[in-house]
Amino acid sequence: MVMKILLATFWELPHLGGVWPLMERLAQDFMRQGYEVDILGNHAEYYHLVNRQLKFYKSSYLPLIESHLRQTGLATVPVIYHNELDRYTLECVASSLRLEQYDLIHTHDVISACAFARVKPAKLPLIVNPHGSLPGEIQLLMDSHSAVDRVDHDMKSILHYYRTIEQQGLRSASHAVTSSKWLQKGFVEDYGIAAHHISVFPYGMDTVKYKQLLTTRNEISRPPLKKVITFAGRLVHLKGIEVLIRALAKLKTERNDWICWIVGDGPKRGEYEQLAAALDLQQAITFWGARSDVPCFMAMTDIYVQPSLQDNQPLSVIEAQLAGNAVIVSNAGGLPEMVEHRLTGLIAPKNDEIALYTLLNELLQSEETRRKLGAKARLFSQKHWSIDQYNTKMMRMYKHVMRSSHDSAPTD
């Protein structure tokens, strides 16, 4: 019998970067091995089985759900209210899918794990695969604001809500998987989840395919006699881009043999562009916006920087290592698990612009150091981020969880 797997997420699909390429690759590889795979994702107007182009419009579910929840008090915190409306819609859609047709559900966030746990048949194994810490991101936002009164009260409610969702999502799943020990440790310490309930294995990347992508070129060329410093990712507070910009302002007082490319988009883009202008960095920093040709940028990069205040295991660092860039990461979250300091890259204390400036200056000073770190990173990355290894471990875990669920679950 062919195993049938449902990959699902509460987040919008498809999208640039992040979870989508990971789910897409997993589905493609499993299908190549003869398994059946469906991918369920979110969209502003519907949930959809992406691979089947089958849409479940929210307008068929929301009016009734909303009429029952409008007067419950939930609506006083709009973030929670809208999230709950969307979660219950997902539950209604999920229950309509005849979940018993699947052998396993693999959710890529805690919210969809909560949703599926409430509607799935008892014996059907459910894996939750968080790619970050939702409450951690909220906490970081709270720390960065000196908000008071109403907003502050709402933020506390939102933090409590996401902590409960995260705990519930982890507890209700048959098994959890994360890509970093940092996330596993947080779940064990924060929620008392048993460590053996959470498998840890790093993300995989099709390194052969990526190597080919690195040889393609876009319309951009690197300026002569300048080294290229790159960041790629969402332009949000937790990525620590402000720290990078301030470090670059200090670097500019020392030397001008560099430029910086910031590739990606997000709610903070305008603010960061203004900050760069205020620090007289308009000529030195280019904001390229969201791009689908990130490998072209990586191929032209000398130094890749991931200055995050909180991060799990960003694909952009993996890409930079595969491109042979000299990589600097902060010591936030799971980043130190990706780089061995002074062997495959450099690690700076998070939120420390002086430390980051010092490391950038050191790398710009020494071509030899850049070359050695880049070469070691490339070697490390080709083995460590192997997609075959990732898929083999994932399939082994699927089968283990299916056996355990079958042995232990009560009959329906």
Binding site: S60, L64, T72, L74, E84, C92, S95, R118, V119
Partner: protein
């Protein structure tokens, strides 16, 4: 076929704010048919602290 939403009140722990909502029976019958017996909206395990208890229907 459009039917009154009130036909599906058993799925909810709260009363509707309007009795005039009409829904597609094909879609909602499928939900009723497939959700577990104990399934209700809202999920009090998560949102109990945010829900006004007076709004909940007492079920015997």
């Amino acid at each position: 076929m459009q039917v009154p939403g009130s036909l599906y009140s058993n799925l909810f722990l709260t009363r509707p704010s309007s009795d005039e909502i009409r829904v597609e029976s094909l879609i909602w019958n499928r939900i009723i048919e497939h959700v577990p017996d104990h399934y209700v909206i809202p999920d009090l395990q998560v949102v109990a602290p945010f829900v006004d208890t007076n709004s909940l229907i007492t079920r015997t």
